[in-house]
């Protein structure tokens, strides 16, 4: 594995870095490795662990400044808090899931920059549903990278409510490694002020009869910008795979922006692969419907935004605990904005 400083700076022609170049993601000058405070993780039994470095620049960077902890889940539902403090905070987390588990992660704190790298595995015939609630302070910048391996007949649900931080870059990769493995991803992103939220997903179907679904809903207000890029790859000899991606953007103000790149690479023939993307303002009909029932325009808009964001989770996420956690967090976030 290369050390961070040996890895060339990725050009913006790579779409992973096109909208959020590495020099803006890095907490300081790109040729430096700053000192980082460890992320404070509470709520579960954690052990010190070691994970391998990476040739990918973001993973390698976090690896060079962070310590790793391991969390083993076995037929349990767990809520953990991850707090990022100080100027630069970073941590690596290894997660292994056996049996049927849910994990709610509350990401909070006032760090100027937070880096989180997760390496996870869902063991065969197991299921894991994760909710990550990004409630970092509005001044924070965050880099989140995750690599998941889903085993035979196993299922992974990865839900994200992205509302905190001012500049967020997420690079999430999932490998469906054996027959019957399944992935469902859902992201609800709410942009206010000058928030920049960039989600990149890579889903690889490395075996036949695997299923994946990804839904990203972004509501962009003020001067915010939402970016969703996804690469859905079905390897050769992966017949029977079924994959879909939906990216939807709700544009709430004149100066908000949304960019979507849902990509497909299909090397097998007997598969179903589809993607869709749509961007639109709030529907006048929906507004009219709510306002004609006595709601003020701002309340009607807030209700539509809430429904739009929750919709990302309701359709695809099976774990009701995760959906409930997301609903509570979203309502709390929207209430804070109103008040």
């Amino acid at each position: 594995m290369s050390a961070y400083l040996e890895i060339p700076i990725p050009p913006t022609s790579e779409h992973l870095w096109r909208y959020s170049p590495w020099k803006r993601v890095h907490p300081a000058a790109v040729n430096t490795i700053p000192k980082a405070q460890p992320l404070a993780i509470s709520g579960g039994d954690l052990f010190k662990a070691v994970i391998r470095g990476s040739d990918e620049i973001a993973r390698s960077f976090i690896h060079s400044i962070a310590q790793c902890q391991e969390l083993v889940l076995a037929n349990e539902d767990l809520v953990i808090d991850i707090k990022a403090s100080g100027h630069v905070a970073a941590g690596e987390l290894k997660i292994v899931a056996k049996g049927h588990c849910t994990l709610v992660i509350n990401l909070m704190g006032e760090a100027s920059w937070a880096g989180l790298r997760v390496v996870g595995e869902v063991l065969p015939a197991s299921s894991l549903s994760i909710a990550l609630i990004n409630e970092l302070s509005r001044e924070s910048r965050i880099l989140r990278v995750e690599d998941w391996l889903v085993g035979k007949d196993a299922s992974l649900e990865l839900s994200t409510l992205s509302a905190g931080g001012s500049y967020c870059k997420s690079d999430l990769r999932v490998v469906l490694s054996a027959k019957g493995s399944e992935f469902r991803g859902a992201v609800a992103s709410h942009g206010t002020g000058k928030r920049h939220d960039d989600h990149h997903f890579e889903i690889q179907h490395a075996a036949g009869y695997t299923t994946s679904g990804l839904t990203i809903h972004a509501a962009c207000d003020d001067n915010s910008r939402a970016i969703a890029t996804g690469l859905l790859k079905i390897d050769s000899d992966c017949d029977g795979s079924n994959a879909g991606q939906i990216f939807r953007n709700l544009l709430l103000s004149e100066k908000s922006r949304a960019d979507s790149i849902p990509e497909l690479e299909v090397l097998s023939d007997d598969v179903k692969a589809a993607h869709g993307a749509a961007s639109a303002p709030i529907s006048v009909e929906q507004l009219h419907y709510l306002m004609s029932r006595g709601l003020a325009k701002s309340s009607a808009e807030a209700l539509i935004v809430e429904g739009f964001l929750m919709d990302a989770f309701i359709k695809d996420i099976r774990s009701q605990k995760v959906v409930a956690a997301m609903r509570t967090a979203l309502l709390s976030h929207l209430d804070c904005l109103v008040s």
Partner: protein, 468 residues
């Protein structure tokens, strides 16, 4: 024909070639002197020579694209290509005056026959220059200018100077720079205000020699309230060495004008087809690209429309077929720069026998363009497990009033559909051919009937033996 070549040719019916009988043939390879020689040979004005030289310098400095099929792109040997070859003494207005061998070629391609029946004008380009050119008298009387590009430059330099490189500057990409440096042939069309050219105008491009580079340049200007349908077709013989086709097409649709540009690209599988096509649509104008890619080794072609005037509309319909050893990297780009502009992209592709088809698209709505609407649909059929289908769409939305949709799907031919047709007495091959023709129907219905019939027949030939 050697076995190797026979393997490459397959069912390609335009793979024949004539003995080379060049009147002028440049040595292989490219240099600034070659560029100046081409310009001098054509007795061009100084400003054109200057643009060519600047473009050549840009081409020489610019790196190859670092995206797309880099392996195939980097295999192009620019020193092994002939950049200019003149096959006849001039452009003729009567088929009888065209050199016999060349005339026979176009006869076999059915061009003179088609001209008589349903075309408003024809340019036939053989190697680097047009060998035949004609336009119906009534169109000429209405003031329609239709020339091969070299003649257009001689006859109307003021128009060409104004618009040449205005939509596709030579700095746009490496192959646009190459084309600007060594362009030869192509079409120049000007449709005056309010004139509707009812019958399509056609250009047919033929490469005959080995290791040939064809770099035609096309400029179409539709003045206010006018309309035109332009069709181009392309074929080449099949050799075991590669040829390069790198064209640039610029379309300008003034207020209320309409341009439809249809292409049926059927190059042989030894041709690199690296083309830049772009149009600009002013207020209430419409530009349509109808683009069929069946042949070539590697096609990289992304017809683009800049919607610059309020109410402008763009439509891009493309189909691609990739067989063994082929990569069709095609797509569409639309820039919504003005308010109330609309666009639609429909892309369909089929790959089989290890072929690869990619859709690469860009849809951009600028922050000042209000109430824009766009819909993109990409469908792909993958017919066997050796083939690959990719979709790389990009949507960049710069304001809240835009309403955009994109949807794509990749699948195989459904067993139910095959079964249904076979129950009604069709063989597997016939059933597959019918399904494929139906899949491409949104494209073929936009073509004149003769073209659509020919295309369906070609596809049926390509699909033979697809089962099992």
């Amino acid at each position: 024909m050697s076995d190797d070549v026979q393997d490459i040719v397959g069912d390609y019916r335009y793979g024949f070639h004539d003995p080379e009988d060049a009147t002028i043939r440049f040595d292989k390879g490219l240099s600034e002197q070659v560029v100046r020689d081409i310009s001098e040979l054509k007795n061009e004005p100084e400003w054109m020579t200057d643009i060519r030289v600047k473009a050549y310098r840009h081409f020489a400095e610019r790196a190859m694209p670092d995206w797309g099929n880099c392996q195939m792109l980097n295999a192009i040997d620019f020193d092994a290509i002939t950049y200019f070859l003149r096959s006849s003494k001039g452009t003729e207005n009567d088929w009888e005056d065209v050199p016999e061998a060349i005339k026979n070629t176009f006869d076999r391609l059915g061009i003179p026959d088609a001209e008589q029946k349903w075309l408003g004008g024809v340019t036939a380009q053989y190697e680097s220059e047009a060998v035949y050119h004609s336009i119906r008298e009534d169109l000429e009387q209405q003031g329609v200018l239709f020339f091969d590009m070299d003649s257009g430059l001689r006859e109307h330099p003021e128009i060409i100077k104004k618009y040449f490189c205005s939509i596709v500057p030579y700095t746009d990409n490496k192959f646009a720079a190459l084309n600007t440096a060594v362009w030869s042939g192509g079409s120049f069309i000007y449709v005056p205000k309010g004139v509707h050219v009812e019958m399509p105008i056609q250009a047919y491009f033929r490469i005959n020699s080995k290791n040939m580079g064809q770099f035609e340049r096309t400029l179409i200007i539709a003045d206010e309230g006018s309309s035109i349908h332009y069709i181009e077709g392309c074929t080449a013989p099949t050799y075991s060495t590669e040829s390069l086709h790198s064209a640039v097409v610029e379309l300008i649709a003034m207020e209320g004008a309409s341009i439809r540009y249809s292409t049926v690209q059927n190059w042989s599988v030894n041709v690199y087809n690296l083309v830049t096509k772009r149009g600009i649509a002013y207020k209430n104008a419409t530009i349509e690209w109808v683009d069929g890619n069946i042949g070539s080794k590697l096609t990289m072609k992304y017809p683009a429309v800049i919607l610059k005037g309020e109410g402008a509309h763009a439509e891009i319909i493309s189909v691609a077929y990739s067989g063994a050893g082929q990569h069709q990297d095609a797509g569409a780009k639309i820039h919504h720069l003005a308010s109330n502009t609309t666009s639609r992209i429909l892309s369909k592709s089929i790959c089989k026998n290890g072929g690869r088809s990619s859709y690469r698209g860009l849809l951009r709505v600028s922050p000042k363009a209000r109430n824009c609407r766009s819909k993109i649909v990409c469908d792909a059929l993958v017919l066997d497990s050796n083939s690959q289908s990719d979709t790389y769409p990009t949507m960049e939305v710069g304001n809240s009033s835009a309403d955009l949709e994109h949807e794509a799907s990749v699948s195989k031919v459904s067993g139910d559909q095959l079964f249904y047709l076979m129950c009604r007495g069709h063989s597997e091959d016939e059933a597959m051919g019918l399904i494929v023709n139906g899949f491409f129907e949104p494209f073929t219905r936009e073509l004149p009937m003769e073209y659509a019939v020919e295309l369906n027949r070609l596809l049926q030939l390509e699909m033979e033996g697809s089962i099992g």
